[in-house]
Symmetry: C2
Subunit: 337 residues, 2 copies
């Protein structure tokens, strides 16, 4: 059986079912944004890794090495953020074709350093190897979180509201522009969307603020798209979800680029992925206050975009005209085409 | 300038010079077998990663997925062992071509689990991505060590003796056989050499015994070959080294395979690499006792193969006939051909 037949998530499920944790210090293993380990009484260690492959995750002449360095780190920082954690140290594995220049590697590290330094993270190690055909960057980040502040995918309960930081779809809109350079778009919009795609900002401050509020019940970062990532929360928490399309925060830039590309902006916001915003849940009585507090503390807007329902109600998208349609987990799957 | 012009070690040096550690908890960053971090008063955290790329580190039809899984973990466990540490948790990043079978991935994980379980290590996370053309396995392992037991590359002093666990060259001899299946070699020799190459045993127990003896001054694992790895110790410790060729432990299997391949067994033992034995140094007064103690505790033979000399005496190989020749760091460099 080929991996393309069961897909990335099928394969991850299969692997995690085959893994037993023999040591007592594994709080959460495979299946959340980061592994959670008990290394100290008062702190959990968090660890996560993520690969970027040329021609799969990025096109070499569409992203500068500096941007690639920043993004490689950002997507891992985002995973630590989504657990409510503080990122601490990073390692980098590089696969390099022989025709790579030293200057390219320098710029890649410059980007990685700039991205990590602003969050107080040090790059402390790594490995490098010859990789013919294509460049590969695999970054690994560890962080820590106080046990009582840890947020998992599995904590959502029916009745909880669903919240999201920032705006969704900008990254997908940036990708649309990147793949169609002939498209004529207002410069400010293009800049915003391209930046969201090429150098996303991991919501580390926001993740900490959400965790410290103690008002949230579950959290994940939006790497694969709202539809896919709420499915992860829904499956881990054994609940259903209802997303209110009209409440999804979508920027003017994304609306404009969608218009130019003859696409539905909602499609970019729900299925686009790579926004690296935080998606989290909170009981209804505290949700608005939580949104306001995070916004006040970090300057990042927070929107309430739906509600958690019992599992038997499934996952639904409530459209602006009141129609309710199934919310398919149509985000990115690496092994399906 | 191409990376092939400065080579892997030149590139690592360049990168590490550009990295500043802004946080006070980095004891050792880039440049040893694993990074060393102060996360607790009584324990250092160790972290290391290593890539295996199809067609570069392994040939897909020459190693089973089970063996590849074991080896991927073993080479990282070996890096923790070489710091005197106890490995604890592992993460796995996989790059998979779309035509990979689920059964292949299952067997790969089976190997990784078998290799980690016997050292009490849990696989707690990872990532996977589509990688066209070739398979890639990047494993990341963290471990811990008591601050006073930590062994670095930088602790060797003139006068220290140089010691090595096990026998050198078996892995290179196994590779010779693997690449020339027509070679007719006694089965027991072939088995020993192939196993050394395909499923090396990380010297975790031995590393702990050496560290706990408190008699050693520096340590590294033999991944690139004795000539290359003693150069790493020599550079980090600012000392020279003299290796006594006649004292290097070489198995009958390696001698026989070298004979069949018209090679010098010494060449396999010194430049072959991938033995994953431990290379360490100790003051002369305690070296023999240390060798005997480690051998007694673990069953693994330990040999004294040379001595540390002042830096200005360089690195030399003393041949069996008394001639002294320069010991070139002719081990594996990923970016030079």
């Amino acid at each position: 059986m080929l991996i393309s037949e069961i897909g990335q998530f099928g394969l991850i499920r299969r692997i995690s079912e085959g893994i037993a944790y023999t040591e007592g210090d594994v709080v959460v293993g495979i299946g959340d944004d980061a592994a959670v380990l008990r290394v100290r009484e008062d702190r959990y260690l968090l660890g996560t890794c993520d690969i970027q492959v040329e021609g799969v995750h990025f096109i070499r002449d569409k992203i500068t090495p500096y941007q690639l360095g920043r993004k490689s780190m950002a997507i891992n920082l985002s995973d630590i953020a989504s657990m409510g954690g503080i990122p601490k140290h990073a390692w980098v594995s590089l696969g390099l074709p022989l025709d790579t220049t030293v200057e390219y590697v320098d710029a890649l590290y410059e980007g990685m350093k700039d991205e990590t330094e602003r969050f107080g993270v040090d790059i402390v190690g790594g490995s490098m190897a010859h990789m013919p055909d294509r460049l590969m960057v695999d970054t690994f980040i560890i962080g820590e979180v106080e046990p009582d502040l840890l947020l998992l995918r599995s904590g959502a309960r029916p009745g909880d509201l669903i919240l999201v930081t920032g705006q969704l779809g900008d990254s997908a809109a940036g990708l649309v522009l990147l793949l169609d350079p002939a498209m004529s778009c207002e410069e400010a919009y293009a800049k915003k969307a391209m930046e969201a795609h090429l150098t996303p900002t991991p919501r580390v401050k926001e993740g900490r603020a959400i965790a410290q509020s103690r008002a949230a019940t579950a959290m994940i970062d939006l790497s694969d798209g709202l539809a896919s990532d709420i499915t992860r929360i829904s499956e881990a928490s054994h609940v259903g979800a209802r997303i209110w399309a009209a409440e999804i925060p979508i920027s003017t830039a994304t609306r404009r680029i969608a218009e130019l590309a003859h696409k539905d902006p909602l499609e970019l916001a729900i299925f686009g992925g790579e926004d690296y915003e935080l998606l989290f849940t909170a009981p209804p009585e505290g949700a608005e206050e939580l949104a306001a507090a995070v916004e006040g503390e970090t300057g990042t807007p927070v929107a309430i975009v739906g509600e958690i329902v019992p599992a038997n109600e499934g996952r639904r998208l409530v459209l602006g005209d009141g129609r309710v349609v199934p919310l398919e987990a149509m985000g990115w799957d690496h092994f399906r085409r």
